[in-house]
């Protein structure tokens, strides 16, 4: 695992609005990590001790279903976060698998929480950005659930197909 510089963190939209001094603190909790294609980056049920920012490659968010192949809920690419339940849950909710070789920035969540408690302004700034990601993910999940492309029969011949 390699250390991450504050400058490297500032390149990502999630963190670009943090001040230089705040980035210094967050960088103390961050390390680069690699994961080979096919391997699990996060395991469902494991302690939620890490938040990952995808730097390169692609990952899938999967749900383990007994007796079936894992269900892929969403695929994620560079700039996106995985392990988003870290703030409120002590366990990982879904498997995250590397679809390609991955490079991520791994944040130690215990370290982050410690820094945020010491500096609530930093915690607020980080969590505001983090919430934007969560809300975007929630909106996407809602759209995904509403079966956009299913044609309502009541519309009948209304549409120019």
């Amino acid at each position: 695992m390699t250390a991450v510089t504050p400058q490297a963190l500032a390149r990502w939209p999630l963190l670009e609005e943090l001040e230089a001094a705040q980035l210094e603190v967050v960088a103390q909790c961050a390390r680069y990590e690699r994961q080979a294609k096919g391997r699990l980056l996060l395991h469902q049920g494991a302690p939620a001790d890490a938040l990952h920012l995808l730097c390169s490659g692609s990952a899938s968010l999967e749900l383990e279903v007994p007796g079936r192949e894992p269900l892929v809920l969403q695929t994620l690419g560079p700039g996106e976060l995985v392990g988003a339940s870290w703030l409120l849950s002590d366990r990982v909710q879904f498997d995250v698998r590397a679809r390609t070789d991955l490079e991520t920035i791994r944040f130690d969540t215990a370290c982050l929480l410690q820094r945020f408690e010491a500096d609530p302004a930093l915690g607020y700034a980080f969590c505001r950005r983090f919430m934007a990601v969560v809300v975007e993910r929630l909106q996407a999940a809602r759209l995904q659930l509403m079966d956009l492309y299913g044609h309502p029969a009541t519309l009948d011949e209304v549409c120019c197909q």
Binding site: T75, L143, M146, Y149
Partner: protein, 274 residues
């Protein structure tokens, strides 16, 4: 048909080929002995004799003026009747109708196509134009979202488009075992760096909710609103602006559209019930 004096009188065309694209979706290739020219994005009224007429966008290659292609999903009585037609049978055609994609304003710039489900049909002629004339656009990106892997339209065509230089991104809302592609809503495919916003024009077709969120995302990525165009769907009956069934605020979708720039429809799309 072009040059026809009465736009309400259909031409009778024979089906040359019927392609079962997926369950409930059929493409009909019609013989057009006199030639049939259209602008990508335009539609025809297709008449299943004795049943009725529906507006269907043209999904064929604009260079093939001898063949006219439509892709029809069986959702109602008329479209069911159309999808049951077989080669050698005939149907009525009125068109081409409406305002197509503003391709002249994209020339030399980046072209961003965003399609949802069967909304890929009116964008297919644009992709074929881009393949036939690679210098016409600087860069072409296609974002395509659909329900699940079984409903991905035109896989072979998309592979051909990829080989011709179009950057094709496909996602499904719901994956099934074996699917190796992306999973999630189509807006999540749209990333900075795929196109140059200053010279990009976006053409969107799909369910209205999908277009609304796609337009927001593309605008957020820097494409000016006036260069985002949407193909709208409303209850088109006459197809030529006479009956008023497809009124959309101050506009008639059949006559003034179906393609509109985002600023013309953005506020109307927020009006409940319109």
């Amino acid at each position: 048909m072009t040059g026809r004096p009465d736009p309400m009188v259909p031409s009778v065309l024979r089906i040359a080929r019927r392609i079962e694209e997926m369950e409930g979706v059929v493409s009909l290739e019609l013989e057009a002995p006199g030639g049939f020219s259209f602008q990508p994005g335009q539609f025809n009224m297709l008449y299943a004799f004795g049943v009725g007429e529906v507006p269907i966008s043209i999904s064929g290659d604009p260079a093939r003026t001898d063949r006219l292609r439509h892709t029809v999903r069986a959702v109602g009585q008329v479209s069911h009747a159309l999808t049951r037609l077989r080669p050698g049978m005939e149907l009525g055609v009125r068109g081409p109708l409406g305002r197509g994609w503003p391709l002249e304003e994209v020339a030399g710039g980046d072209l961003v196509l965003a399609a949802g489900g069967l909304g890929l049909a009116p964008l297919r002629p644009v992709a074929e134009l881009a393949v036939a004339d690679p210098r016409r656009f600087r860069r072409v990106v296609l974002y395509y979202g659909t329900r699940n892997p079984a409903t991905v339209l035109w896989r072979q065509e998309m592979e051909r488009w990829r080989r011709a230089g179009i950057r094709v991104h496909v996602t499904v809302d719901s994956a099934t075992p074996g699917w190796q592609g992306e999973v999630g809503v189509v807006t999540r495919l749209m990333q900075p760096g795929h196109f140059e916003p200053a010279v990009a024009t976006a053409l969107l077709c799909g369910p209205e909710v999908m277009m609304r969120f796609s337009a927001q995302t593309l605008h957020g990525l820097g494409i000016p609103a006036e260069r985002i165009h949407l193909s709208m769907e409303r209850n088109m009956n006459c197809g030529v602006g006479l009956c008023g069934h497809c009124q959309f605020g101050p506009r008639l979708v059949c006559r003034d559209g179906p393609v509109f720039p985002l600023p013309e429809v953005e506020s109307l799309m927020q009006v409940r019930g319109l």
